[in-house]
Subunit: 358 residues, 2 copies
């Protein structure tokens, strides 16, 4: 039987609850498929700050690097909100992405027929939405230098950041995006602000160069302001979207809210080699932490992405995805996706129901 | 009677059609209120490129600067899409904003009861939305230096831009935003990415400093990714939003699409002194240009903003706003806002109907 080492990063807020449930599901699906896991659980974010004084201890990064895949719960909370930048939980997450070199962030936004009414969009607009945002995750304005505080030539105080992309950074995310589109409906929309920004003009130029390698994929370009509109007007027009770090942050969150069920949405962050990082796209939800109210399905589906994209274990991944659909079909719902006529359950019970269907 | 000089910039696509209609409405409302206008019509954008080889001729900027207010139609079109940066119609618009020093861009997004079904959002979510985005318009990554193309320390090709804000730039847009919120429901939400970007941390710090001058306004802060979600989830939670140039570009377009009727939405761009720039938020719509299909109401409402914010002529402004509502109540609709049971009209006829109600 195959063996893999998994690093679990429960993190903050509802993170530990959803990770514990997802771990059980992962275990069962794997054992049925003859896969064996070794787990190591290490702290990140606020949990790591409280324990060690830094949001990403060296041991945590090392453990993550030496494993085959990393499953993260969530990070952040009011408690650390006023911390200085290098002591913010978020900084731990950014350093983890950087350290693992996971430059490609895949964020599916799918409207399940069972949950179409959870969207604030009209049924006919939301129904059938199935898009994937491929977000560049280790470059752009998040990491660009110079950055900081200072004074300008008139002696005025300033704050500044640099949006910068090198050719190789765009080329590699472009290839991931074209490959992703090829496995989906073969349509890729690259989002930029090339009518204003040089970084975006360069982005578009490189995307067009890489497009020559993928003549079978239909490429289009859209300005980011228009993309933010089109996601509301007609999200079904999109198949795969590729964009930079900051535009991807904004648009993937907008897309996820369009589905109406961010408690359901997983994500995968992948590098050239080395372990991938898998996490629900929702936050740490400190207001409901520890109350057994969180929806564990996004983390369970992140575990499925871990199996598929991280370990190439397609069969175990499909098993988990099918179990989640089955559980929804049986009518089980956590509070965030509850509607009249369905069965309200807590985080743990939802996990147990999924286990029954694995 | 009072006299004002107005610069008309019809621009490209549907620009000339909507400007011609709006001019008639402006004229009638003004003459009833005893106001006299002198007009000068000058080219900008693609129209200027074709005529003079540059997207903002010196004469155009000079004419605009020397007038009391500027009314712009729209700029851009496929024809100039592949132009180099300094020969893009968009560059003309950016230079105009810079030249007029109109740092404060006010973008209302209102769902009129008559048009609530035009939104892709469910009726109960869209109904009653009435928010104002105050976007910083002459700073940030749109204008920041250094910018351009080059090579990094590894000799790799790069494209780059600088997001930078000086204290005075944030302070002045903050004051406009607090004043705006004060005249509305007294709630201001500042949108940034202060968990990652130094420019945003500095933004938040200055917003909080200026907030001390406005203890009666309720201030909150929101990360831009969350704001993009919240606009879809529950747009009614917002009253006034203040944000930087690029986030404002994205969020104001998203907010406008949430209303479902971007053919209806005006904008005002204001400086410390000097003429303001007023324009519909929609684009030049080259596909329907010259076909008498465009919705002139956004430009007519921009003319109302011109009267109110640009010239302090509140009564004439109210007259136009009331005439637009009246025309909608009578059931007249252009194609973009048409629904069964209403009367489909073209751009000119819509203008004539509004004139009847002025
Ligand atoms: C927490 C924050 C730093 C992070 C980001 O901006 O990347 C989050 O919003 C995300 O999208 O994963
Ligand atoms: C045309 C373009 C340069 C402009 C901008 O990005 O500011 C437009 O999108 C707008 O919002 O007015």
């Amino acid at each position: 039987s195959k063996r893999h080492t998994i690093t679990l990063l429960p993190g903050d807020g509802i993170g530990p609850e959803v990770i514990s449930v997802a771990r059980n599901v992962l275990n069962l699906a794997a054992s049925i498929e003859g896969i064996e896991f070794k787990y190591q659980e290490v702290p990140v974010g606020g949990a790591a700050l409280d324990l060690t004084g830094v949001p990403l201890p060296e041991e945590t990064l090392l453990a993550a690097k030496q494993s085959d895949a990393v499953l993260l719960g969530a990070i952040g909370g009011y408690k650390w909100d006023k911390n200085e930048k290098h002591l913010k939980p978020e900084t731990g997450l950014l350093k983890l992405r950087e350290g693992l070199k996971v430059f490609a962030n895949l964020r599916p936004a799918t409207v399940l027929p069972q949950l179409v009414d959870a969207s604030t969009l009209k049924r006919e607009v939301a129904e059938g939405v199935d898009l994937m945002v491929v977000r560049e995750l280790t470059g752009g304005i998040y990491f660009g230098k110079p950055r900081g505080f200072g004074t300008n030539e008139n002696g005025e105080e300033i704050g500044f950041n640099t949006e910068v992309y090198a050719a190789y950074e765009i080329d590699r995310i472009a290839r991931v995006a074209f490959e992703t589109a090829r496995k989906r409906k073969g349509k890729l929309c690259s989002v930029d602000k090339a009518n204003v920004l040089e970084a975006s003009m360069f982005w578009r130029k490189r995307i067009m160069a890489i497009a020559l390698e993928y003549p079978d994929v239909e490429l289009s370009h859209m300005y980011v302001d228009n993309a933010a509109m089109q996601l509301v007007r007609d999200p079904k027009q999109f198949d795969t979207i590729v964009t930079n770090n900051i535009f991807g942050d904004i648009l993937s969150d907008e897309a996820s809210m369009i589905t109406g069920s961010i408690g359901m949405l997983p994500s995968a962050s992948l590098g050239e080699s080395g372990p991938g990082l898998f996490e629900p796209i929702h936050g740490s939800a400190p207001d409901i932490a520890g109350q057994d109210k969180a929806n564990p399905l996004a983390t369970i589906l992140s575990a499925a992405m871990l199996l598929k994209y991280g370990l190439g274990e397609e069969k175990a991944a499909k098993r988990i995805e099918a179990a989640v659909l089955d559980t929804l079909n049986k009518g089980f719902r956590t509070g965030d996706i509850y509607s009249a006529g369905t069965k309200l359950v807590g985080c743990k019970e939802m996990g147990e129901e999924v286990l029954k269907s694995v």
